[in-house]
Amino acid sequence: MFRTCDITGFKVDRKVEPLIKANAVVAVVSLLLGVTGALLLVLTRWQVVHLLLPDWYYRMLTFHGLNALVFWIVFFEIAGLYFGSTIILNCKMSTPGVGWFAFILTILGFGLVNYAVLAGKADVLFTSYVPLRAEPVYYLGIILFAVGALIACFLFLANLKKAKQEKTYEGSLPLFTYGLLAACIIAILTIATGAIIYIPTLLWSLGYIKSLNPAMYKLVFWGFGHSSQQINVTAMISIWYLGAFLTVGGTSINEKVSRIAFMLYIIGINVASAHHILSDPGVGTEFKIFNTSYIMYIAVLASLIHAFAVPSAIESAQRRRGFTKGLFDWLINAPWGNPAFSAVLLGMLGFGFIGGVTGVINGMEQTNTIIHNTLSLPGHFKGTVVIGTTLTFMGAAYYIVPLVFRKKIAFFKLAQLQPWIFAGGVALLSSSMYILGAFGIPRRHYDITFTGSAFTHTFNPATDLFWVLFAIGGILAVTGALIWIIIIVVSVFFGKSLTGPQDMQLAVASPAPEAKEHKGLEAPGTLVLSILFMVVFLTFIALNYGWLTAMWEVK
């Protein structure tokens, strides 16, 4: 049961389409819930408004974390896994029935978790550090969701196997699918770790186990919690490569390097979970340094490789199309009118300059004590998972709407602006959070004036300014996200159907022409940008270590 796409020429299995659609729709619903929570959080943390009461602030924090970080991203990724293993490979879904079974499990989990949180049965934040205890229904929901996601991963592998057996493709997997394979492998070991931690916790919540060791819990929890962020990073980078191809016809200037970088992720990235326990008692210095550096820098190296490979793919393609003047002509003449392109590019810049730079500070043993559990921390991951992953997924959706849902994008002019609003908002939000954290403002904290406490602390008055920037950034980011949700919902449910290639608003670029003659460097602009990045990166690290010397001595 194939239809042939009249725009891309892809063969599309009619059985897989509804599965992709269903997962994508729930992803959008989750994002809407997450963003609603985000607005309430911004208006509570900004104490000029201080909207919620304490119990609802913590409840909303739990709600926001789970819906945005877990449900939105995972449902979207499941849709992506199905897409990458069937349509891209010209292959049919191996067992669509099982796909629906997985979908039902994830939906059940999604429902139970949100019910538990909103009913006040799980005021434990998404980390649920024991001995904080939620009611069993919460852990049950998480487990059902995880099982559903695990099944989706196995379906992905089954699809790959089927495609290979039926020889629907020759040679190697496309780089996009190869990246998804890396994400899928990381997902499998992540979810296995989730089982190790959530099953005992469920039993404990039910009263069958008397007590759990909080240090063990935190160790294993982050084996699950951080590795799942690596899934997001890997899936996001795969989409970057796909985006470079769809928007300008760019392919990695050296696929070998890109693929090896994906392999390095699989090997090295999971032990990075150790950076969540750098300022904790329990494990020793050797454990901390070995896991966050020796092995993790394999992963950092891989990230740096991708950070070069994707823009250079774009640059090289653009140059071959004739934008050869100067260092940055290719960038200025990039298809900025294509919202998917601007989303991917802004996502990349934000991820690197905000998320990446701050991430390495967080991941170094000594400088971790500066940011640990301050507002810098959510500031950092707003730079990775929001401006990076979320914006990239938003960009991908601009292709999914016409190609999978076969609808025109509604409010196209607004769609062209949307990535800028969202990226601008999140960049402001996350840098203000990072700075507020540097002043010592804690994360997950209801009242930094400590009203009613025996002792109080007054933070540096300069923070008032950054709270205002925080609020502006937050509101802009929420606006950008809501605009995207409205565009997607209106297009999908009320939009004009796509009748043929003439209705396609986004370019599907043909591969860039072959280089005529190799003279000099293929991507000098990218090299300059990358070196600029490195300078910022090293300066920031030096600043942080300099800062350390002004503190109390501790050993």
Binding site: T168, P214, N254, G282, A438, F459, E553
Partner: protein, 176 residues
Amino acid sequence: MSAIPPKEGWYYTKIAKEEKIWIGLALVVCLGLFATMILWHVYGKQNPSFTTYKTNVHEFNALYDAFVEKYKVGEEHGFAVVKPDPNTDVFMRAQIWRWEPVLILKKGESYRFHLASTDFLHGFSLQPINMNFMVYPNHDYVLTFTPTEAGEYKVICNEFCGVGHHLMVGKIVVEE
């Protein structure tokens, strides 16, 4: 054929010059970061390396009580105020939603802090200098602090520990 086939013979393509430069540079930086963390243990003065002892609520409370009784010099808002001798062991207890006791320390002297919680996880966040550590139940986290500046410091909790989490503030005074 797949929809976006890789370039033929991609695995033989030579790595471009600028990519080589970049990977080399990145590798050097990565190794540099690794070395920094280790060297800071040798030359730096702020390292959250430590000892952790296994303990339990009963044992830690006993030690805490004995410590407070030995060095108590007064009370403030119902918190014991304690002035330990330099170079001794100092016990600080985290409990919903208090950091106890109030400490008076001397600038430039070292103190072996023992941090533990008797209930949930808490975050030991020393302000305004902004140094942050985690505190667990049943784990005695031993950190030797040397205050480098006199003044009044606060310990706020920065790990969620229940609905009164934002009320959890302790105090440390450092005298000249």
